[in-house]
Assembly symmetry: C2
Homo-oligomer: 321 residues x 2
């Protein structure tokens, strides 16, 4: 399995990738990052998921928090607040600001996001090839109540960060996805892959958004290589964040088996569930997806590396059953 493609959201995906890199040190890993969470703040282009992957694999991440920079300070944000300029609910630190300033300057100069991401990664040397899912603008919106009997769409970050997913989510809409094209290199990487992995990222707003880019799902399904995912749901609840809220919005139960069924056997060949969900293995396999139960808590790098090894082993089983 020399050529690995992994789809990734933010924190969960990034941590998994760190284990994957250790589990397969000789592999050529291409990461297709979600950009549906991207947001313009203070006139700057912020790509939370790409940055989380870049900082995590590049050794610059705030470890406990899982996002943002280690040793971060907040002078710029405090000053912006003093000018009455918000939003204050999005935590941009000074070091992080520099990334967005460089990115915005390059985009304004005409470089596509994929070229900008490559340039930023030249500093961080993440040890993987990080590609945005698309160079086009896709923005995940959440359909919620407008407080007046009707509904309104808000930016995913407003729903997730400001409102902490505590308002009803009736639908998740990746605005612009239908018109988006996969970024340069994305379809080529999938076509040349020996295995495609779905880390335990959010199946709706992370992996789901990547799969919403036209051509992406088909390229993965048609690649003729094992596609293996890891459940982000353990024991009936998401490991991190509030994934159950957005699963409900798309009518999926927060169980490891239901998430596998949501991806579907047309896409997924193998699925890892946590040992506490071992009784789900039978149901998943009945759906035509090979399934194993292994520990899925990314408590440390060793545990995460074992998860990656198990995913690659399951991919091997799919090829040579």
């Amino acid at each position: 399995m020399r050529r690995i493609v992994a789809l990734s959201g933010g924190i969960g995906g990034a941590r998994f990738l760190r284990g994957l890199r250790r589990a397969a040190p000789e592999a050529d890993i291409t990461v297709i990052g979600n950009t549906g969470d991207d947001i313009h703040l203070f006139g700057l282009k912020v790509c939370p998921d790409l940055d989380t992957v870049m900082y995590t694999l590049g050794g610059g991440i705030h470890e406990e928090q899982g996002w943002g920079r280690a040793g971060e300070t907040f002078a710029v944000k405090e000053e912006l607040a003093a000018y009455g300029v918000g939003p204050e609910w999005f935590g941009l630190g000074d070091r992080d600001f520099a990334t967005h300033i460089v990115r915005t300057q390059m985009l304004a100069a005409g470089y596509p996001l994929s070229a900008v991401t490559e340039a930023l990664c030249r500093r961080w040397e993440p040890g993987v090839r990080l590609l945005p899912m698309t160079d086009d603008r896709v923005e995940t919106h959440v359909l919620t109540d407008d407080g007046d009997g009707g509904r309104k769409a808000i930016h995913f970050q407003e729903y997730w960060v400001r409102l902490r997913a505590e308002v009803p989510a009736h639908a998740i809409v990746p605005v612009g996805a239908e018109q988006a094209k996969p970024a340069p290199g994305v379809l080529e990487a999938i076509g040349a892959a020996d295995v495609v992995l779905f880390p335990p990222s959010n199946p709706v707003v992370s992996i789901g958004t990547i799969l919403a880019v036209p051509g992406m799902r088909e390229a993965i399904a048609d690649a003729g290589v094992p596609v293996v995912g890891l459940s982000p749901v353990i024991g009936g609840a998401p490991v991190r964040g509030m994934a159950d809220k957005v699963l409900a919005a798309v009518g999926v139960e927060p169980t490891a088996a239901a998430v596998a069924r949501h991806y579907g056997s047309g896409l997924l060949d193998g699925w890892l569930v946590d040992t506490v969900d071992a009784d789900a293995v039978g149901a998943v396999e009945e759906d035509g997806i090979r399934c194993r139960a292994v520990p899925l808590l990314m408590t440390d790098l060793d545990a995460t590396t074992e998860m990656a090894r198990a995913a690659l082993a399951l991919a091997g089983e799919v090829v040579n059953p």
Copy 2:
């Protein structure tokens, strides 16, 4: 002298204005700020002179340095350098960055610089009305040697900050000035003024650039009110910076009398020189400009306040000789 208009560059002008505000607490002071030093850095619009006035009068200035913010940190700049993104020779701190981010965002949203400056001043409450000389782009360039026998134009900031004025300056060119219009409110303020002051700012690249905006010089000359300046040259050398270098570029000797003659009696009614230049008073008066010798070192706020009082007193003398 209820309505005062003052033209201003950066450090020297800003410090004088602090004294002026104290000398005339009841006055309605309009400051016309130089924008020829403005520069785009990291995709952001930086207005050094406007900010120095705003920070100085608003209590946010780095007192010893004379520019930039007090209690400044440099995380953003360090990070930009880590990305290999410069220039490194321009000292933008984290707090300062916030100002440029807000400004750039407002400009991108379509607000003219005058409206942006007003918005920024809502926070700083400088106690004066701060207007940019123009909302149009004017950029002071310095014609220097190209090292190959020819000449080349460089941005004033590159000449001043990076090269510390240590290369030959053959000409100072306010690029774009000919097409610029005074910002809204500028001509009205001059027309309604009881006195116009030229603080001890650089006569070439600060006051000179403001006067290069078409209509500005005429409005001041035609206002029919006293125009009084303070010499930035004391004892044959500029008090601050490297003003002698740019004076030489326009063929003006670095003396208090020569600077007065450079402005000319068509514009200037009164001129303050330092006590060490008392022997220049006669020559200046022979040029038709009323002249007094008073201490002109802005050693502290009291000394600066006395300078402002002397300027206003000289304006009174011009009106009632």
